[in-house]
């Protein structure tokens, strides 16, 4: 079997707040294989961003704290690395792009300086070569007139353009893993499609892996090979994208899929999941979803103990007492090397 590029094992993160501890990530495990796109989906505050930030050790400490678990990049535990060793991994092996392109570029430096700084740090090149690499990186993300753009400041660019620059910066050192934290949330729809297609194209060219964090199921359906659904700081369902969209097992996933509006369908109101996202300081007992669950709201088992993530079918993990065969299935860490055949849309939107 293929070696995973990144393997997260039983990650637990806590934040020590004034009124006790909150646990934004609990027992999260998943694997990312080379060339694969893994999507983490969930509502705001479910812990998906914290999971991603903890890979790069970007969680503010204090109040944040990793309680336990391992983050293995090609077998090396990132949580055990020293600061200087970690800095070599950041940017070189793992790069990250952020949600808000308007604020993720430094306003006082030119685009070229910002890209070249990271290149100079991670590769043995002269400043002149770094500039050439930066120019090539801009060209790769489809920015016309890259040579002139290098000397521009972020405020001279539009949001979509800046997100391209962010991607160029992230990819200038050829990372093995790209963490994209809601990369298209702040962009309008046509730009969204362009950026996602650009990411797919670059992924094909460089065979990098992508960890895609989003709450947009459309983005997931279009891009992801494997999907993990997070709810209340845990993964509640984990499967390949096709399997998840065709046969959702967890009631929360079902609810999410039902609440996506469909073109052509007549409906007065969009379907919603009743209730609100639980406050991490006061999680409900037992299954964290049971107060909002439509399946068996009266079942005392749901309120009493929290279901574990079990492999209820080969390659399909779910954490719900009311999934057929849940009680008898083995408890394993989810890992899927699946790659989906995505339609190659070369050159349609990305020039």
């Amino acid at each position: 079997m293929q070696q995973p590029l990144l393997e997260i094992r039983d990650l637990n993160v806590a934040f020590d707040m004034k009124h006790g501890q909150i646990r934004p990530v609990r027992d999260v495990s998943y694997c990312i294989y080379p060339g694969q796109t893994v999507a983490l989906v969930g509502e705001s505050g479910c812990g998906k961003s914290v999971t991603a930030l903890s890979i790069l050790r970007l969680i503010p400490e204090p109040p944040g704290r990793v309680l336990g678990g391992q983050i293995l990049l090609e077998g090396r535990d990132l949580l055990a690395l020293s600061e200087p060793e970690m800095r070599k991994v950041c940017g070189k092996d793992i790069a990250m792009i952020f949600q808000e392109p308007m604020t993720s570029l430094n306003p006082v430096f030119t685009i070229g300086d910002q890209i070249a700084e990271a290149v100079l740090l991670h590769q043995h090149v002269t400043p002149r070569q770094a500039r050439d690499i930066a120019e090539q990186a801009l060209r790769d993300v489809g920015i016309a007139d890259a040579g002139r753009r290098l000397d521009e400041y972020p405020h001279q660019m539009s949001g979509g353009m800046r997100q391209r620059v962010m991607i160029a910066m992230a990819l200038s050192c050829r990372p093995k893993l790209l963490i994209a934290d809601e990369p298209t949330t702040a962009l309008d729809v046509t730009i969204q499609a362009q950026i996602l297609e650009l990411l797919r194209k670059l992924q094909r060219q460089t065979n990098m892996s992508i960890l895609l964090i989003t709450h947009d199921l459309g983005v997931v359906a279009e891009n992801a090979d494997v999907v993990g659904v997070m709810y209340a700081s845990r993964i509640v369902e984990y499967a390949t994208a096709e399997e998840l969209f065709d046969h959702p097992l967890h009631p929360y996933t079902e609810g999410l899929l039902r609440s996506v509006p469909r073109l052509g369908a007549r409906a007065d109101r969009l379907t919603t999941i009743p209730g609100t996202v639980p406050n991490p300081a006061r999680f409900p007992s037992g299954c964290k979803f049971h107060p909002r669950c439509h399946r068996m709201s009266g079942d005392p088992a749901c309120a009493a103990d929290e279901p574990l993530l079990r492999e209820v079918r080969p390659g399909h993990w779910a954490a719900c007492h009311h999934v057929e065969g849940h009680a008898d299935s083995p408890v394993t860490r989810p890992a899927l090397a699946h790659r989906r055949q995505l339609a190659a849309a070369e050159g349609s939107l990305v020039a």
Binding site: G91, T103, S104, N106, V108
Partner: protein, 475 residues
């Protein structure tokens, strides 16, 4: 507000200018600051003051520019220039030349300036140091003196190499700079700066009275700050010559009268501008460096570091600067550099608070997270990515800090605890106070100099604050 803005409308530099590339934030802030007539007025006064400080020996000096005595030409003014005068002069001339060229970038200009000053300093000082070598080796102890000398040499050499490499391929600046440096070195080695230790100003007047002077070209104000005209007691405490009264009795002309030692007041005011500028800039510079480093660390690391840092800030804020200065002067004597260091070491707390607040805000910004995620070292994250985005409030505070440092020095001198020999504005005010009779020219002119300088810094600082304040800023 709107009426005050009207006169500047035709000169509005901030207006839209068509196809020109958009400006950076720093450029825009600079233009916004000086599009205001009050700030321009303040800047004009500060520039005048800087000009007076640099060219003080040429503006007010008892030594004539040119002298022909008994058929021999000489230039006593140049012969009596001190090393400091020469270093300041070379620095100012280089800055002017760079401003006139306008083609090089800010970075190249700064590098060129550092280069010229680093080259001039040892060249200007070597003869004086050589002459005093016995004193040096006895007072410091030979090995220590040599070690110190070595360190100084290495620093200067490092500065030269660093600036030369930093200039990169700026040929426009690089080769003229090398030529100017070589010329300077040739001149300063052939004619070292070696002013005579005993100076008799009366000498020129005696020669003139004796009729031996065939040609003399004097400075605009022909009196040095320390020219006390002791032999002619009728020069003591003269009012300005245009005022009348006692002044009519003497043949010499004094624009602002003379002081209790018969020195020319205008000359002393001009020479005192050096101290005013130096104490303002150096003490504020020390405060800004300390404040930025401590405030930056507090704001970035938060938690325990922040708590300890803020207590440190509070401890320093509890120290009354003036009383500390008085105590130090009482124990360690009247030393200008000591004053600068103390003012700097005590007043950094405001800057640290500003930087801390800015960094607390910046550290959660995406671009700072992105910089950390790119694996940049802490030094680069803190001082390359965060500092330029958070430095502006400190610059505003610094312009007010310069003004308050000048006031501290003036206050100390006014209390009679300032410098003894060098002229300073506060010390002149103190003379006016202790004389027993009212000599208005001794109070008004130095008082106006202090007032105008502090006022000018405040005008510029206020305008700068308005320019960078997003709430007041109009787009």
């Amino acid at each position: 507000m709107s009426i005050a803005e009207l006169p500047s409308a035709p000169l509005n530099l901030a207006g839209p200018t068509g196809d020109q590339p958009p400006r950076t934030f720093a450029q825009q802030a600079f233009i916004d600051t000086f599009s205001n007539w009050r700030a321009r007025l303040g800047a004009v006064w500060i520039v005048l003051l800087a000009f007076a400080a640099v060219f003080a020996p040429f503006l007010a000096n008892s030594h004539p520019y040119l002298l022909k005595v008994d058929g021999r030409w000489s230039s006593p003014l140049l012969e009596h220039l001190a090393p400091v005068d020469v270093i300041l002069l070379v620095g100012a001339l280089t800055a002017m030349a760079l401003l006139a060229m306008r083609s090089a970038g800010v970075r190249a200009c700064a590098m060129a300036l550092v280069w010229m000053v680093a080259l001039t300093t040892p060249l200007a000082l070597w003869k004086v140091a050589w002459r005093n070598r016995d004193v040096l080796s006895i007072t410091i102890g030979t090995p220590l003196a040599w070690a110190l000398l070595l360190v100084v040499c290495l620093v200067i050499l490092g500065a030269l190499v660093w600036t030369w490499r930093g200039l990169g391929r700026q040929g426009m600046v690089r080769w003229p700079l090398l030529a100017a440096g070589a010329l300077l070195a040739a001149v300063l080695i052939a004619r070292p700066i070696d002013p005579p230790r005993t100076v008799v100003y009366e000498h020129y007047r005696e020669m003139e009275r004796a009729g031996r002077v065939q040609f003399i070209l004097r400075a605009p104000i022909p009196y040095s700050a320390s020219d006390r005209m002791r032999d002619s007691s009728q020069h003591r405490l003269l009012p300005p010559s245009w005022w009348g009264g006692d002044a009519r009795r003497v043949s010499t002309w004094h624009w602002m009268g003379t002081d209790v030692n018969s020195s020319d007041v205008l000359s002393r005011i001009i020479h005192a501008s050096r101290i005013a500028l130096a104490i303002g800039f150096i003490s504020t510079g020390i405060a800004v460096v300390i404040g930025v480093v401590i405030g930056g660390i507090m704001g970035f690391f938060v938690g325990r570091v922040d708590i300890i840092g803020m207590r440190l800030v509070e401890i320093f804020e509890a120290i009354p600067t003036l009383f500390l200065l008085i105590a130090f002067v009482a124990f360690f004597g009247r030393n200008l550099y000591l004053m600068m260091a103390i003012i700097g070491l005590v007043t950094w707390t405001g800057d640290a608070r500003f930087i801390r607040a800015e960094f607390l805000k910046l550290r959660n910004q995406d671009f700072v997270q992105a910089a950390i995620a790119a694996g940049l070292p802490l030094r680069s994250v803190l001082f390359r990515h965060m500092l330029p985005n958070g430095i502006t409030p400190v610059l505003v505070a610094a312009s007010f800090g310069v003004a308050s440092a000048i006031l501290y020095e003036a206050t100390l001198s006014f209390l009679g605890l300032g410098l003894v020999d060098e002229p300073s504005w506060g010390q002149m005010l103190e003379q006016a106070r202790t004389l027993g009779r009212f000599t208005w020219w001794m109070a008004i002119f130095p008082g106006m100099a202090i007032f105008l300088t502090v006022f000018a810094y405040n005008l510029v600082g206020e305008s700068f604050r308005d320019a960078i304040d997003p709430r007041i800023r109009k787009l």
